[in-house]
Symmetry: D3
Subunit: 236 residues, 6 copies
């Protein structure tokens, strides 16, 4: 089936595709990723995975990839600098407005592929609102949740992935002598400045990252995301 | 350590306790729970677990239990009737205002114990906002997530629990000949009217519920929640 | 006629009742009530009066009692500690959302029984919005306004009432040598921090309160509220 | 003491006056007033009374009259036509913004003189928010509440007053054979379309109005409002 | 064709006129205008021009003049004192609510005549929202943009105009030895406190203003505004 | 001076640059552009011009290019399909949040380069709010306004530009026999569905566009934008 980018298509092409299509919206963040990693990491990776997974997923329905939402809910990273953040209220409004637009254009299915932990609540809340207000079926998927991975933040996992796809976005990585032990409670979500202060804004040890690992992990994520998108096409 | 209910304490008692205490806010919903279960189930169970777990958890810090937030984000249940729902925007505003109040009263730690799946995104988003805006450390815990359980909605799990604590709130349960198979995609959150329409607004088979199972499960949930609250007292 | 609590009823029971019923929503506050009185006083008393008055009022229509809204608009009490307050904007949104839900569930009549002076404007504004937006007829009644009483705040009146129903929520009451004279202008509503600062956050003299007075006053309030609710059933 | 209109003063004059002054904001509505009365009645009368009362009240403090807020919360009158209404949320925001501006300009006292019943809740809610957020002391006074009057809506009372001050704004008044009996419950605020539909959008009988009565009533209202404003100057 | 003021008309008169009429809403500001000019200048001038231009424009359609919106978006003038400002969000809400009301009353055409530079974005944004949400066609016209004029702020232009219509609102004008050179970039809108700080809150040299110039300019503006309003009647 | 993309920089690099830098935010839209042009045109062109102009402008200050805001205020294009639009309220919130973030990161200067007429009011309103709330100096520039051009919408101008930079985004262009004459009033902004309906959602005649014209125009726009950005570096 056909795969198009929304922004590269005309109104006529979109009007024809949308009633049957799955719209995929990558959402990331533009926020501090430690001293070594580019601030655009989350938007970059969500976009990369969508770009690779969607073509393989378009078996039963056409897919339309919407422009990446580069700005996420990152207020907790503002104290570290380099962060462009939307409040949770604003980001919910953005997603709800986009859901409204999809409905207005004849669309019925939206998958939000999320690249930033801070967006999880927003995606859930907005997905619920879009569905009940506009009748668009919504799925939201954290890209790291499709495989058995520990994403962390700006640690080995993300650094590897960026080394795999855009190595020039990774700066010098000083090894951490001791792995930080972030506050965590199983089954609980924690929101506290201390969580981030304790670890200087990034988890585990980016110095252990390799481009090879990143490439492998990305392949795995793309393969699993493809499966999820196929399921979305079937079930939404 | 001391355990009090906020609403039963005076301003002086609270001003003394709050700087060291953990405030626990149970949040539920007032929404349709199938043909057989009372609409207040989620608020009831979140409150019940908090009431039982907190006294055992108050080892290292005092605990203050706030009045239960009985109204949740249940717009997806409005079509079935019997539902009092706040929009996600309103419920976030409620939680953020409460976080602001806790900070104004000298409090520094808030644990939201959640009894309703539709509140997950709201708790996450509000927790983030409370932490960054008012410097209150927030944890949010879905009560069913502390043990290895499948909560469903108004199915065997919840019906058992209510049979254990308030059996008069359970009406006649017609057995389901075939278990419904709700749409689900591993790792994805789905928001779609069809999800609920397919299964008449409740999961699996409430007829299989027993008070005995409910009591056992509740004991297990309370024990695990106690552990989590102790961790909150330590880490927040 | 039938009287039910919303949260103890099933969706089917509510769907059947709501088109003919009067929904009663008690609303209070969780806020400082001087050095002697529990912070939950307003929610407690509004609930108590509703619970007692409704059964007698259900002559011509069924009544549905909704879960008490325990959090009110109490920002002016935040400086005294022990206060969980919603901003006026948030509380209006809460009430409007509940009105929307009642309409969605087939309801047509809502009576808000209010236990907190700070909620008066909010109840009026929200009542107007619910009526014009959702076609639900709304009445809002301050419980102290149905009889010829001077409610004050945490003074003799409220302290007596709480002594009558939950005496353990009243702490030691130091007599006031001189009755404070709060700023007041007949026919004017005044909002000023000085109003509360002048009188240490509570009016007149709680030491004069007695459980006996409280019981009598409560009986009178319940009887009058019953009359008002009967009128609501007739006129809304 | 000095009395000025805000809009006719310079920034320097206002900066000098505001710290000691009482700012008076007339607020009305622009809404249907039956078949016979101009839609601007409420703004007209609030302004008229302010203009007459303030000069006599400026004994102990200077007074600054702000431009009349002509648009009120009149959604319930929209179905009758001829109505320019703000939602309650918008009008609260307007008043809160004006309170913020007064604080920014050095002002400390605001009296809102209200000419429209639909604004009552809004004035109360906004007054509370202005006081707690910006430290400005606020009083709000419904102009008809200062004397022992029954204002109604577009009935004998208002029609008389307009006949007294702007007789050309009163059109032909057809006598009502039978006085309408509006739904009313003592001590309750009622918001229902039926209240207004029953009486064709205006109360009692405007045909009984006379300019003479209007003039007398207005004199009485002005005298009483003067007293209230003097009290505001003393107590705020 | 007929010209009426909304606030002086009855609901019946307006219901008859609105479907064919052009509604004209003057909007100004109440904000500092230097040391010499009254703060109400913008509302005054927008109203004056509307009052003069509309009668001549009512050739093909009736016109309805709405009450002037005296409060504009003037947050950038708050630091100079004497300013009553609405945030941009609030002012947009006000205009959108008025547009909604016009639609509810049967109106289809709205012209906003703006007297304050700070309102430009608000008028544009609100005009768009009114049109798409309520189907009312909206034009917004800055009064100074209809002729080839340099408006500045509280400088020669505005001072002349006020001297022409309300000379008592102009105080002593100290000549400026050197004309200030405000920051400006062709084709760019600039928002910066420094822009206003540099020039003490007013542009160019009010001492050069004359009543004669003001009268001439006003005549020209009225004539051109008349033409624009005629066009609005034709094209909206 | 240095030019970086925000998303490709680390927090440390940005923290160092921001106090002296000019942040440039391209903003466009994702909306119908007639039957022939891709919906991403406005975001594409704003980004293209920023990418070309900034390097030449970074003479006196470093420049930081933020990720393009691809979603604009396009509700008026929703009826034509293919449109992803934010309401004006949401887009203002987005820009204000980004301004807040820039301030939090130490930035002091923001230039919004706008590619969509529907965003003009939003940029103005948000620019004002950012400046007064966060002390960031803001300029907003419509890219077409820097040269003497008639932009239209999806007509010859835009089509030429896209043919110059991304010719594959232009589909077959059917010549228009008669040039449409859009409703327009000099000096007035018009918001009306009829404006767009009359011309099938695009202005003039895209068939007259050539890549050569587009390239020339783009060069001219880039050169002029460079000048404006240099001025921004000097004056903001």
């Amino acid at each position: 089936m056909r795969v198009v980018r929304w922004q590269e298509s005309t109104r006529g092409e979109l009007s024809e595709l949308l009633p049957e299509a799955v719209v995929v919206l990558p959402i990331g963040a533009t926020e501090q990723h430690g001293p070594h990693l580019a601030t655009g990491t989350d938007a970059l990776l969500a976009t990369e995975i969508v770009e690779r997974a969607v073509p393989a997923a378009a078996i039963e329905r056409p897919f339309v990839i919407a422009p990446t939402q580069s700005y996420g809910a990152s207020d907790h990273h503002l104290p570290f600098g380099g962060t462009l953040s939307l409040t949770v209220e604003t980001l919910i409004a953005v997603l709800v407005d986009l859901g409204r637009s999809i409905a207005a254009g004849g669309g019925r299915r939206l998958v939000i592929v999320n690249g930033h932990g801070g967006n999880q609540g927003v995606c859930h809340a907005a997905g619920s609102a879009i569905s009940t207000r506009y009748g668009v079926a919504v799925a939201h998927i954290d890209y790291w949740a499709v495989a058995d991975t520990f994403p962390g933040h700006a640690g080995e996992f993300e650094t590897s992935l960026v080394m795999g796809v855009r190595p020039e976005l990774v700066r010098e990585r000083k090894p951490r002598e001791r792995l930080p032990e972030p506050r965590a409670i199983p089954g609980a979500g924690i929101h506290s400045a201390a969580v981030w202060d304790d670890i200087d804004g990034y988890t585990d040890d980016p110095a252990r990252a390799t481009a090879e690992d990143g490439t492998k992990t990305l392949d795995r994520l793309v393969a699993e995301m493809t499966n999820r998108l196929i399921e979305c096409a079937r079930q939404l």
